[in-house]
Amino acid sequence: MIAPSAYLALAAILFSIGVLGVLLRRNALVIFMSIELMLNAVNLTFITFARMRGTLDGQVLAFFVIAVAAAEVVVGLAIIVAMFRRKQSASVDDARLFKW
């Protein structure tokens, strides 16, 4: 009843919103959360394809994505904490060593 393209379109929309968040916010945590949103949109896509094709491979991939996302969050938050300790600020704009 619900066509796959609906799910896929929803995933696309979520992905775009995640991109918006990455580009428009300065707070490192919010950017990180937006990335998680993007990963979730991708998960939705995988699972939709799995059901489309009648196999569970897509779900396995989504499973791995969740696992790796967890690991990534751990490391990333550690980095944000370390950065905050240095500069007392969580803004990504403060890291501009590459400015000419």
């Binding site: 580009l23 704009d93 890291a95 501009r96 590459f98 400015k99 000419w100």
Partner: protein, 660 residues
């Protein structure tokens, strides 16, 4: 035998070794260039000895050539192949035939005498060795020019004599006058050489070869009269530069800043005659392109008249002789332009004798007076310089064409040839020229050598050493009896018969004057029915010359207070004295206008446009870089934006491709 050309095995051994004629002066030039300064006083005698050897070989060749029967006197010897470029194959080869052997004898003979003279004249000069090296180099170049068997080698010699002329005119390069004169000579020559070169291109374009034999034998069938005219005019452009005709004569008077023996050799006897030789050598072209020949004759006439008039008003000893040379060259061109090639060459030979003699005499006078050349301050030199005066008088007799002298015979032949070809107006101008010649030469003679001394500085002139007097005496003898010896008794004389194969019967594309039948042996002296006889022509010409001399004798000998007249010169005299302001016109046209163009180019084109373009490249680069630098914000989010933008574009591209 084709065209009298023998197989090489039939060449006499002397002809086969004639490259020695070229080798001796070339070797001298080389050796003296490197060791000349170290040799000091020995440089001169060595150079002279080499020239004498060259002359001896030339003379031997001459006798061998004469010994041959009349039809078989052309020898060509190939030295080596110069280069092959496409369809053009150029060999370095020399040609011994009556015309070239005459020139060789003149160059080596007069050249040897002048080398001998220079030993005395240049004594004490710090760069004596270099001088003799250049003199030998000049002899080599001139011989290369006259012995060449194709246009390219002739052009090589042509250019080389121009170079030597530059080196020798500017020999005393620390004198600004000499350096400037040398430059002027070279540049003016160069203009002429450019014209010559275009002529060579035309020849190659139409004939496919530059070899004399092939060009001349195929000329009547290979090219039209129009082309021949074009070629003739272009080649004559070069001759005008080298032989100082209008409009390229301006370098010769200034060239008197060089050592006088140089003037004698280069500007009286040899280099300037290269143009006349060239016209005689390429007579086939001028016979075909008759309009070009007419132009040659007319320019010769105009030059002769103009230079003669200027000579009347000059006060510098050598300048009178310089303009005289230009004028006499005009004579020769009137001759060869009218088809009287033999007469032109004859006058070339006799002129070599007496003009060289006159110049050597000038050198002697300058040597005695420590380079003071103003004839208005001379006078009475005959007492202190008897030999110089005597030989100078011999030369004077020849140049005014006093009966019996060589100049008499040659000038007569030229005028007879012009008249016979139907150009009565040119002949009349020639007669007037003879009168003017008589006038200014006598003026020079009287003012410089006779009368009371007008010297104000208390100079003590002394006669020149034997090494200088001896050549003058020899030349004096040649100037007097040479004409008679060479030419026998006038037309169809020995020289005429000798040269005829080289300057051959005229190939008439269109008859010059329909009323007069031309004899087939027309390279010599065409006869004209119903005109004046030879004797009448001779009498008129001689009368003009001697008459001019008498007038000058009277005027400057005491009848006319010329010194007072000098204070207020009239317009005519001033025009003559200032050489008709030609030099000033050239100066304005070329120097001033040229300078204007140069400064426009330098300050506008170069500084603003070109420098601007180059600088702008730098400026643009800097600005673009400055703008581009703003991409480097150092902010992560800007870069993220860039990534997003790039990936969107890529995605769009691939989707578009996939959709299609």
């Amino acid at each position: 035998m084709v065209n009298g050309l023998l197989a090489q095995s039939q060449f006499p051994s002397v002809v086969r070794a004639d490259w020695l004629v070229l080798l001796f002066p070339a070797a001298g030039a080389l050796i003296l260039m490197f060791y000349g300064q170290r040799m000091k006083r020995a440089a001169g005698p060595i150079a002279t000895l080499l020239m004498t050897a060259s002359f001896v070989v030339s003379a031997m060749t001459f006798f061998q050539v004469v010994a041959r029967p009349e039809g078989s006197r052309v020898f060509i010897q190939t030295l080596y192949r110069f280069f092959n470029a496409g369809s053009l194959s150029v060999k370095v080869d020399y040609r011994i035939d009556p015309l070239s052997i005459v020139m060789m004898l003149v160059v080596t003979g007069v050249g040897t005498l002048i080398h001998l003279y220079s030993i005395g004249y240049m004594r004490g000069d710090p760069r004596e060795g270099r001088y003799f090296s250049y003199l030998n180099l000049f002899a080599f170049s001139m011989l290369l020019l006259v012995m060449a068997n194709n246009f390219l080698i002739m052009f090589v010699g042509w250019e080389l004599v121009g170079l030597c002329s530059y080196l020798l005119i500017g020999f005393w390069f620390d004198r600004e006058q000499a350096a400037v004169a040398a430059k002027k000579a070279f540049i003016t020559n160069r203009v002429g050489d450019f014209s010559f070169l275009i002529g060579l291109f035309l020849i190659f374009a139409h004939f496919g070869t530059l070899d004399f034999g092939r060009v001349f034998s195929s000329a009547p069938t290979a090219i039209t009269a129009g082309t021949a005219t074009a070629i003739g005019l272009l080649l004559f452009g070069g001759a005008a530069g080298k032989s100082a005709q209008i409009p390229l004569y301006v370098w010769l008077p200034d060239a008197m800043a060089g050592p006088t023996p140089v003037s004698a050799l280069i500007h009286a006897a040899t280099m300037v005659t290269a143009g006349v030789y060239m016209v005689a050598r390429t007579h086939v072209i001028y016979d075909l392109g008759h309009s070009a020949a007419i132009v040659v004759a007319c320019i010769g006439a105009a030059t002769m008249l103009m230079a003669g008039l200027i000579a009347i008003a000059q006060d510098d000893f050598k300048r009178v002789l310089a303009y005289s040379t230009i004028s006499q060259l005009g004579y020769m061109f009137i001759g060869v332009g009218s088809g009287a090639y033999v007469a032109g060459m004859f006058h070339l030979v006799t002129h070599a004798f007496f003009k060289a003699l006159l110049f050597l005499g000038a050198g002697s006078v300058l040597h005695a007076l420590a380079d003071r050349a103003d004839i208005t301050k001379m006078g009475g030199l005959w007492r202190k310089l008897p030999w110089t005066t005597f030989t100078f008088v011999l030369g004077w007799l020849a140049i005014i064409a006093f009966p019996g002298t060589s100049g008499f015979f040659s000038k007569d032949q030229v005028l007879e040839g012009v008249y016979g070809a139907g150009h009565t107006s040119l002949w009349a101008i020639g007669v007037i020229g003879a009168a003017i010649t008589g006038f200014y030469m006598t003026r020079l003679l009287v003012l410089a050598f006779f009368g009371k001394s007008r010297d104000t500085e208390g100079l003590h002139p002394h006669e020149s050493p034997v090494s200088m007097v001896f050549p003058m005496v020899l030349l004096g003898i040649a100037a007097i009896i040479g004409g008679f010896l060479i030419n026998g008794n006038g037309e169809n004389g020995r020289l005429a018969r000798f040269l005829e194969p080289s300057v051959g019967p005229r190939i008439v594309a269109s008859a010059p004057s329909p009323g007069s039948p031309q004899t087939p042996v027309a390279g010599v002296l065409p006869h004209r029915e119903g005109g004046l006889s030879g004797a009448a022509l001779s009498a008129i010409a001689t009368g003009a010359g001697v008459g001019g001399a008498v007038v000058a004798l009277a005027m400057y000998g005491g009848l006319w207070d010329w010194q007072r007249r000098r204070e207020n010169p009239g317009l005519a005299w001033r025009a003559l004295r200032n050489k008709f302001f030609v030099d000033d016109v050239y100066q304005f046209l070329f120097t001033s206008v040229g300078r204007l163009v140069a400064s426009a180019l330098a300050f506008v084109v170069d500084a603003k446009v070109i420098d601007g373009a180059v600088n702008n490249v730098g400026t643009v680069t800097t600005r673009v870089a400055a703008a581009g630098r703003r991409l480097q914000t150092g902010l992560v989010r800007s870069y993220a934006l860039g990534i997003l933008g790039g990936s969107v574009l890529l995605l769009a591209f691939f989707i578009a491709r996939a959709v299609r």
